[in-house]
């Protein structure tokens, strides 16, 4: 038995000597080339979560309504009426850095498959994007390509893209973040699990032919990008949303069929990962005959077939007697299906090639055997807050601020996404959270993604808490109650202690916040090694959240609705400017203590908000986020097409912090004058501070003697194109 192996051979599959020794121990022999390739792929960070797994154990994943927590293709939560909402978020950062259009498109394709593999019909797509400033390097090219790719895939597939977020910061120069979230609906009894638990079942590979796409993409996403990656670079995958649409419809029909045991998408590490996870989850084994796999190219080796990441493929496991019925469905959709193997009772994956056994591995080793890593962690100390310049001309500041790429209207982006198809979009993109009707009920789902990167950069624990709080607040502003969380943890190279420290703190913040709000984390994804030539991205956790509104007619818009309505600020403003867009605009370094979230205050605020929306007291509610109070007020004015008159407003903080600080736990609301006493009573009851801000109406946006701009001027600044 070979005790050592060339460093190059190991580097090619991104394993280290310790891991290799583990393999030798488990197998009692040296793996052959194919086996080593399969192990390398499944033991990659991307597939095995070897660095993050022990941290993720802190997350609350259970709750009375959770039907499926992490561990499956997507999480599922009961929403009543016999229905479940199924959702997950996933990153496609590395592929998008290389080829933005196809990278983003196939990211959307991958997350759609995760959802319909669960038996759910995809009803919405969201995305969280981060780029370097548009003026620099390839950033504009990446931005345009990614946005076009997201639209290109979702529009053709026919799933509305209803929300997301885009931020720009030089920390993402040439290293964009592209996270896609998909939400689906399914009847409880139709919820699928990708678990092949019946020996003798037939394994069908359906959809696209297998080509030499992205071989070792999983490994590739698990090491930093450097000059070497040019040679390691996987052929970029070109997505086929049309084929995916047919696959989806076929899988949904298949889901109604008796005798279908499991459906599993092929994603990272292709057939190797899909086949072994399916069988391992079901406590079985699996035999695969690579000769039976239809190929796009001639001369592909077993290695290439097993590790190809060709898109738009699914594995379907059926009882032998159901194969004919399954094939009828595939034929109807003109889909090609190969019978590539069957489920065994061996607990092993066996690959046959030209009649001979080409690989034979215990699934326990392959799927679960990787030694977990716990790298050293270091924690940055928190520098003091920066010295604040004072504002000379608030009006000019407001107009400049609202035109900033991080704050201006996202309409030029989302109008290229079909956000209406399927006829459920009640509140589309552009507001706090999207609201989708649940067909056949009076209910609606509120959907959002959030993650302010600057707060996390300043303090990963507080920043991640803030991201959860903000997501929940966005959902609550529509009147819906947050019910569950998915998350994507985008970080740099965890082998650098400060990066691992960021990850550790961030997960702790995520866990604490989710516990405080009683929100189970039902799915997620971790993307590490977002590092280019020693430059690591800012730590970027992205929170995807789903809320439930029981009665659609009780929803609350974000824009001012009626002239004469009174506007209030709910929540507490502190002297907090660090991490704000205002300071970045002034060219200040991002330093200091980010806005702090009091989870207790935040809970009270959201309870009070839900209570008052539920009683029909509010005419509008809008979360105060990046840019601060004046930006939130300006947005509600622009959303509603109505002006605002505020007498001079001051808090007990500096004018800068009051106007442009980003203290958390704040929402602006508008109320009809006669309902003000009710609002006051409710807020007193929930112990939420309430400040009178002004009156809706007129053609201007007016704040004391500081600001008086016509709404049209404000709109022109806000609608600055990208």
């Amino acid at each position: 038995m070979a005790a050592t192996i060339g460093r190059l051979a190991l580097a090619a599959v991104a394993l280290n000597q310790d891991e290799y020794r583990g393999i030798l121990g488990a197998l009692g022999r040296a793996p052959n080339e194919l086996e080593l390739g399969m192990l390398g792929a499944l033991w990659s960070e991307h597939c095995s979560y070897k660095t993050s797994k022990s941290l993720l154990r802190q997350l609350p994943t259970e709750g009375p309504y959770v039907l499926q927590g992490p561990g499956e293709n997507a999480g599922a939560v009961d929403i009543g009426d016999g229905l479940a909402v199924v959702f997950k978020i996933e990153s496609h950062n590395h592929p998008s850095a290389i080829e933005p259009y196809q990278g983003a498109a196939t990211g959307v394709g991958g997350i759609l498959r995760d959802v319909f593999a669960m038996g759910a019909r995809p009803i919405a797509i969201l995305n969280a994007l981060r780029f370097g400033p548009l003026e620099g390097g390839r950033n504009r090219h990446l931005f345009q390509g990614v946005v076009a790719g997201i639209g290109g895939y979702g529009n053709c597939f026919g799933c509305p893209t209803v929300g997301g977020e885009v931020y720009f910061d030089s920390g993402y120069d040439d290293n964009p973040i592209v996270n896609a979230m998909c939400v689906g609906l399914v009847a409880h009894q139709r919820l699928r699990h990708a678990k092949a638990d019946r020996t003798g079942d037939v394994v069908l590979l359906v959809g696209a032919d297998t080509g030499r796409d992205g071989i070792h993409g999983a490994t590739f996403a698990s090491v930093e990008m450097d000059e070497r990656s040019a040679s390691r670079r996987p052929a970029v995958q070109v997505g086929n949303p049309f084929l995916e649409k047919l696959l989806c419809e076929a899988c949904l029909q298949l889901n109604e069929l008796d005798g279908v045991t499991a459906i599993q998408d092929l994603g990272a590490a292709g057939l190797t990962s899909a086949a072994s996870e399916l069988a391992h989850r079901g406590g079985r084994g699996i035999d695969i005959d690579v000769d039976r796999v239809s190929r796009r190219e001639l001369g592909m080796s077993a290695y290439e077939v097993m590790l190809s990441e060709s898109q738009e493929r699914m594995l379907v496991v059926v009882r032998p007697e159901a194969e004919t019925a399954a094939r009828q469905i595939f034929d109807h959709f003109e889909l090609h299906a190969d019978r590539v193997g069957n489920i065994t009772s061996t607990g092993r994956i066996r690959i046959r090639d030209a009649g001979a056994v080409a690989a034979d591995l215990p699934l326990k080793t392959l799927v679960d055997g990787v030694p977990l890593r716990s790298p050293a962690a270091a924690f940055g100390d928190k520098p003091p807050s920066p010295v604040l310049p004072s504002i000379e001309e608030p009006e000019a500041v407001l107009l400049d601020l609202i035109a900033r790429p991080n704050l201006r209207s996202r309409r030029p982006i989302y109008r290229t996404y079909d956000h209406q198809v399927q006829d459920n979009t009640v509140i589309g993109p552009g507001f706090d959270a999207a609201l989708l009707r649940v067909p056949g009920t009076h209910k609606a789902l509120a959907l959002t993604t959030d993650g302010n990167p600057w707060y996390v950069a300043l303090d990963p624990y507080e920043g991640t808490k803030a991201a959860v709080a903000e997501a929940a607040r966005n959902i609550t502003c529509t009147g819906a109650r947050p019910i569950a969380v998915t998350n994507c943890l985008n970080f740099g190279n965890p082998e650098r202690p400060w990066v691992f420290g960021q990850l550790q703190e961030s997960v702790r913040g995520l866990a604490d916040a989710c516990r405080a709000f009683d929100l189970p984390v039902v799915s997620g994804n971790v993307s590490l090694y977002n590092e280019t030539s020693e430059r690591n991205i800012p730590p970027t956790p992205v929170i995807g959240m789903v809320g439930l509104l029981d009665d659609l007619s009780a929803r609350c818009p974000a824009g001012f609705q009626e002239d004469g309505d009174l506007v209030f600020l709910l929540g507490e403003t502190h002297e907090e400017l660090a991490g704000s867009e205002y300071l970045r605009m002034l060219g200040a370094r991002v330093e200091g203590r980010p806005p702090m979230v009091s989870l207790e205050m935040e809970r009270r605020l959201q309870a009070g908000l839900l209570d008052s929306i539920g009683r029909g007291v509010l005419r509008c509610a809008h979360d105060v986020a990046e840019g601060g109070l004046l930006i939130a007020l300006a947005e509600s004015a622009l959303f509603g097409g109505r002006g605002l008159r505020c007498p001079s407003i001051v808090g007990h903080v500096s004018r800068e912090a009051f106007y442009f600080g980003e203290s958390q736990g704040r929402v602006i609301v508008s109320v009809a004058p006669r309902r003000v006493p009710e609002l006051q009573k409710l807020m007193a009851h929930h112990h939420v501070p309430l400040y009178a801000i002004g009156v809706v109406g007129g053609e201007d946006f007016q704040v004391g003697s500081d600001i008086r701009v016509p709404l049209d001027t404000l709109r022109a600044a806000w609608e600055t194109p990208f």
Partner: protein
Amino acid sequence: MYRAEVFVTLKAVVNDPAGLTIRGGLHALGFESVKDVRAGKYLVITVDEPDEDHARARVEDMAHQLLANAVIEDFRVELRPEPALQSPSPARGGGQGGGGS
């Protein structure tokens, strides 16, 4: 086996938004000598036909019926005797995800 190249172009009277956008992009990149850009399609079709005449006739038929839309497009067909190596025919004949059956 023949390799046919089909060039499909928009008729001159038809506005070409893609061409205009590309021209704009080239100007923005500093390629100021670009006067005009027309965007079309380039299809490389490998056909198994006995001789050049048959191959050409078949491909022209395809272009008339499907590949070009006479309302807005013109086309041109060029033939080469052998299939280029970079375009191996796939293992099986069936199209992916169907075709207009």
